[in-house]
């Protein structure tokens, strides 16, 4: 099996509005990556487009815009988990020997149809994500004593990190009291506990180890992958709010494949579309025991969401997972500029969709 290297990456600025089409947004990140000249357009053997856009034939359109005639052009849509699912698909193409180079581009516009899943009748009229996030938060507070201040401290940390990331949607540090006094949307979630949908794109280039040699100065390997889909509806999720079972399975499988344990992780990008989700991720990824997530933020020895997470960067659905992989690659290769986590060698990406009905964990390393 071929080892897979993240050979390059490029993320555009995530912004509230854009006048550009989804394809122009995507091509912006893709062309920025290609201009680094790690590969020629003629050497890209697959293009994978990650987006919840309702457009058709999207990967082929993107390939044509980028001057690529790939063997394989496919689109992956998996709501918030799309980008990480696309990276898994690219990994498979290279590990199997089918391709030597795969360009993955995730892009979304703010008004993406991926913002809600109208198919799911179990949600009734409470179709927006904030309602399931509220159920998770209420349960965690009652069952484990997690506090609104602990949730707010996740937001403060991620906004602080985003302040060092020029691509992040939010460029201003905030305080716990600002989070606590922001508009109450539900009990207990405030406006600043919630991420914002936005426009943006991110691209990563996956290469076989052989192709990466002589081209990539500091190769960062994908060493572990775990992914699990339990359902699309919330029927099963609603019967157990204590954890996202898919994240636990994905983490277990990824740790096993990479032959590492949670304590080996130096830096992690976690799914934090709502502040409570990052607290639950600490537990589901076994950084801490069940119920201890609220306290982890106070004495964490793992750098979490250095790019600013979804709370700080905004959430262009199809781009989010790709940009998480781009961030961890930049961290491990020592190119994260002002937000560099010193001495990190093993990194983790965690992403999920629709209340954790599906989840993905990807582990990356310098060896």
């Amino acid at each position: 099996m071929q080892r897979v290297v993240v050979g390059d990456y490029s993320t555009s600025g995530f912004r509230k509005e854009t006048q550009q089409s989804i394809f122009d947004v995507a091509a912006g990140a893709g062309s920025a990556l290609l201009k680094h000249e790690i590969v020629l357009q003629s050497e890209v053997e697959a293009v994978i487009f990650s987006s919840c856009s309702s457009d058709q034939y999207t990967a082929s359109i993107l390939a044509e815009m980028l001057g690529i005639k790939p063997k394989i052009a496919i689109r992956v849509d998996n709501l918030c988990n799309s980008g990480t699912s696309a990276v898994i698909s690219g990994y498979g193409l290279i590990a199997s020997g089918l391709c030597k180079s795969v360009l993955i581009v995730g892009a979304e516009s703010r008004n993406s149809p991926g913002r809600l899943l109208s198919w799911d009748v179990t949600r009734g009229s409470f179709s927006l994500p904030i309602y399931w996030a509220t159920m998770y938060a209420r349960n965690h507070m009652r069952t484990y004593g997690t506090t609104e201040e602990q949730m707010a401290s996740v937001v403060v940390k991620n906004r602080k990190n985003a302040f060092k990331n020029p691509n992040a949607l939010y460029q201003k540090e905030i305080t716990i009291s600002e989070v606590m006094s922001s508009k109450r949307i539900t009990e207990p979630l405030k406006l600043l506990d919630c991420s914002s949908l936005c426009s943006g794109a991110s691209a990563v280039l996956l290469l076989s180890k052989t192709m990466a040699s002589k081209r990539v100065e500091t190769p960062i390997y994908i060493t572990g992958i775990g992914s699990q889909t339990n359902s699309a509806s919330l029927a099963e999720v609603m019967s157990n709010l204590n954890n996202t079972g898919t994240s636990r399975i994905a983490a277990r499988d990824a740790y096993k494949m990479a032959n590492v344990s949670p304590k080996d992780i130096d830096v992690a990008e976690l799914h934090d579309a709502f502040s409570i989700m990052e607290i639950m991720a600490y537990e589901d990824l076994c950084f801490v025991d069940r119920g201890e997530g609220g306290k982890f933020i106070e004495d964490s020895d793992i750098a979490t969401n250095p790019r600013g997470g979804i709370l700080g960067c905004g959430h262009p659905l199809g781009a989010t997972g790709v940009s998480q992989v781009a961030e961890i690659t930049s961290q491990l290769s020592g190119n994260a500029d002002r937000r560099q986590v010193e001495g990190c060698k093993i990194g983790l990406v965690h992403n999920l969709s629709a209340a954790g009905t599906s989840a993905t964990v990807i582990i990356l390393g310098t060896e």
């Binding site: 179990t122 409470f126 159920m135 109450r184 019967s239």
Partner: protein, 111 residues
């Protein structure tokens, strides 16, 4: 899903039951995902247990909502009444499809 919505549109909340393995199927599919046999849509109890709840302030007036376990399935609905708590008994008193095409389930606390 279409048949479920047809019943729901008339205010008739029905949950599929597998004709072969007799499992309750939720979300409401016409084929059983366990044994792949046909399902039939049966009326279920209207009495459920509130498993989690909260209040949303997104509409003009605050609204209580929550997860109700009803006849072996879980669903999100509005919950009316004072002094509700996790574990309290609720009853489905109205359901249907709203003007935007979304199902709605309205519960109230059992007296």
């Amino acid at each position: 899903m279409l048949r479920f919505k047809d019943f729901l549109r008339k205010g008739d909340f029905r949950v599929p039951l597998c004709t072969a393995c007799k499992e309750t199927i939720w979300p409401p599919f016409e084929t059983c995902p366990i044994c792949l046999s046909r399902t039939i849509f049966r009326r279920t109890t209207k009495r459920g247990i509130l498993r989690e709840f909260s209040t949303t302030f997104t509409s003009e007036t605050p609204q209580q909502f929550g997860i109700v376990e009803l006849g072996g399935v879980h669903l999100l609905g509005s919950v009316h009444g004072f002094g509700i708590s996790v574990g309290c008994k609720v009853i489905l008193y109205e359901c249907g499809i709203d003007n935007n095409g979304y199902p709605f389930y309205k519960f109230k606390k059992c007296p």
